[in-house]
């Protein structure tokens, strides 16, 4: 009887482990460059981007007109702008403790047209951190939070 129960228990535990694996496998891919595509035109997407970022409590610091510079220099280009954004407290805290992260702040969202559609791209913050292993332990919570928030921002365009 005890052997039968053990067998039953082992089978059950195996099934349980499989179930956990299956359920947990709905993880989100950790792409290095997070990208979203929208069928909306460029101008409305750019405006919406700023609003969505602000809805997620980010502050838009400024917008750089890549396309303007390229056109001025005689290059043919489609609409292409970069939104710089962040949160003062977070940026201040990170740059004070880790000046080596200054080049990555504020965060940048590239918004560019492709035919009648618009793409939005941003470097995954956790991919940056993965390339700086010494900081990973300390900054993982913040960078993971950013990643989650940025995925939510992009999800609003898909």
């Amino acid at each position: 009887m005890t052997i039968a129960m053990n067998k039953l228990l082992i089978t059950f535990l195996y099934t349980l482990a499989t179930a956990i694996c299956v359920v947990s496998n709905t993880a989100v891919a950790t792409e290095d460059i997070l990208t979203a595509r929208t069928s909306s035109d460029f101008e409305s997407t750019l405006e919406k981007s700023k609003l969505v970022l602000e809805e997620h409590n980010f502050t838009v610091a400024h917008v750089q007109r890549c396309d303007g510079g390229l056109r001025q220099m005689g290059y043919h280009t489609d609409n292409y702008k970069i939104i710089f954004f962040g949160r003062l407290e977070e940026v201040r805290e990170v740059t004070r403790a880790h000046p080596e992260l200054m080049p990555f702040l504020p965060l940048k969202l590239a918004v560019f047209a492709e035919k009648d559609e618009t793409l939005l791209s941003i470097v995954n913050p956790t991919s940056i951190l993965a390339m700086m292993p010494a900081l990973e332990k300390e900054l993982q919570p913040l960078f993971s939070k950013w990643e989650k928030e940025l995925r939510q921002v992009l999800a609003e365009f898909q």
Binding site: M1, T2, A4, M5, L8, T15, L16, V22, V23, T26, A27, V28, A29, E31, D32, I33, T35, A36, R37, S39, V60, A61, H62, Q64, C66, G69, L70, M73, T77, Y80, I82, F84, G86, R87, L88, V91, R92, T95, P99, E100, L101, M102, P103, L105, P106, K108, L109, A110, F112, E114, K115, E117, L119, S121, V123, S127, I128, M131, M132, Q158
Partner: protein, 355 residues
């Protein structure tokens, strides 16, 4: 006593299993029924929502989807294309990958066989045939079109696809000889790839397949760059002198400078920004244009910038990104080359200011 305990345990396990079953079932159903959602989430940014392509291949084109075996699509999703724009989605579960493939199959059935038997041909003869019929589009050394990937910036929008790199390790690992032969024979109607069934004999096509396959044996893994992601230098000058020196040196290197910004500028009012953290932004538009043509998303790491800051101890430092290392996130060998030139300029500017 034992019998009662056994029954209790059994009942408990049955109850637990029944509770778990819906979870398991819904998980599997989730993957199967959400192929469209998964595709939209992970693939549409490059291949478009309808599969008509963009940065990526127009997967919904009948001649394209028909020529791709399920096994090829699955491997491509999981392994990506090392050194090209297609990333590896190795975090997706097998169910999720199946669901995406299932969604893509709504665009067309697989017409190529699942046969994985290597095709026997003469690679040497195949090379000659390749040079004559294929190299003009796929490159002299199977490297593909070198103009880049993005529809908007790198090519005429009427072209639905760029000739892929046939020597890519990910491509060769995913593609069977049967698939290569099918694509060469049937071509891809609606793309620049013609059908060669009437132009070349079957042995000639087999030779070309063997030549392409031979490249697989010569693949070497690219070296992993473990250099620091950001570069920091001490300045021998005071803060203002350093800012001036960086700005004038950048101009001397044919970069155009933009108005300086503080890191905190725009995040707070102008009086509260830390004035001892200045970003000098600069750009060489020719280099920017070349980089965007290769990888339209490059704006996420540009423009070039060097940040000058003063520590609490009064030390002045310069910090910038190691653009070569940062650019490796794009998984694009062409872009790596383009960024090398920018990286060299960075180093020279920083050396000139700090030495």
């Amino acid at each position: 006593m034992h019998s009662l305990s056994y029954k209790k345990t059994l009942n408990y396990l049955i109850w637990l299993s029944l509770t778990l079953l819906p979870v398991l079932a819904s998980s599997s159903l989730y993957a199967q029924e959400n192929g469209a959602a998964l595709y939209k989430q992970h693939c549409s940014a490059c291949h478009s929502n309808t599969g008509e392509g963009g940065i990526g291949l127009p997967l919904a084109t009948p001649s394209v989807i028909e020529s791709l075996p399920d096994s090829y699509i699955k491997k491509t999703i999981i392994q990506g294309r090392p050194g090209r724009i297609m990333p590896a989605f190795d975090q997706l579960s097998a169910d999720e990958v199946d669901a995406i493939v299932g969604h893509m199959r709504l665009w067309g059935e697989q017409k190529v066989s699942n046969d994985t038997t290597p095709i026997k041909g003469n690679a040497l003869k195949g090379k000659a045939t390749y040079q004559q019929h294929c190299a003009s589009c796929h490159g002299q050394n199977l490297e593909g079109n070198t103009l880049g990937t993005g529809v908007t910036f790198s090519r005429d929008r009427s072209l639905p696809v760029m000739p892929p790199a046939l020597n890519n390790a990910g491509f060769l690992d995913a593609a069977s000889d049967a698939m290569l032969k099918y694509s060469i024979s049937h071509g891809r109607i609606g793309t620049p790839m013609p059908a060669f069934a009437d132009t070349l004999t079957e042995p000639q096509i087999n030779d070309v397949v063997s030549y392409i396959r031979a490249a697989h044996q010569q693949q070497a893994k690219p070296p992993v760059d473990e250099d620091a992601l950001s570069l920091m230098y001490d300045s021998p000058l005071d803060f203002d002198e350093t800012v001036d020196a960086v700005r004038s040196t950048i101009s001397a290197y044919n970069f155009r400078t933009f108005p300086d910004r503080y890191i905190e500028q725009g995040l707070t009012d102008e009086f509260s920004s830390n004035k001892k953290q200045v970003i000098i932004r600069f750009c060489n538009f020719k280099k920017l244009y070349d980089a965007i043509r290769i990888e339209p998303r490059i704006g996420t790491i540009l423009p070039c910038k060097i940040t000058i800051f003063e520590t609490e101890d009064g030390e002045v430092k310069l910090v910038t990104v190691n653009i070569k290392r940062y650019g490796s996130l794009f998984n694009n060998a062409q872009l790596d080359k383009a960024l090398e030139a920018i990286s060299e300029a960075y180093e020279e500017i920083l050396d000139e200011v700090t030495l």
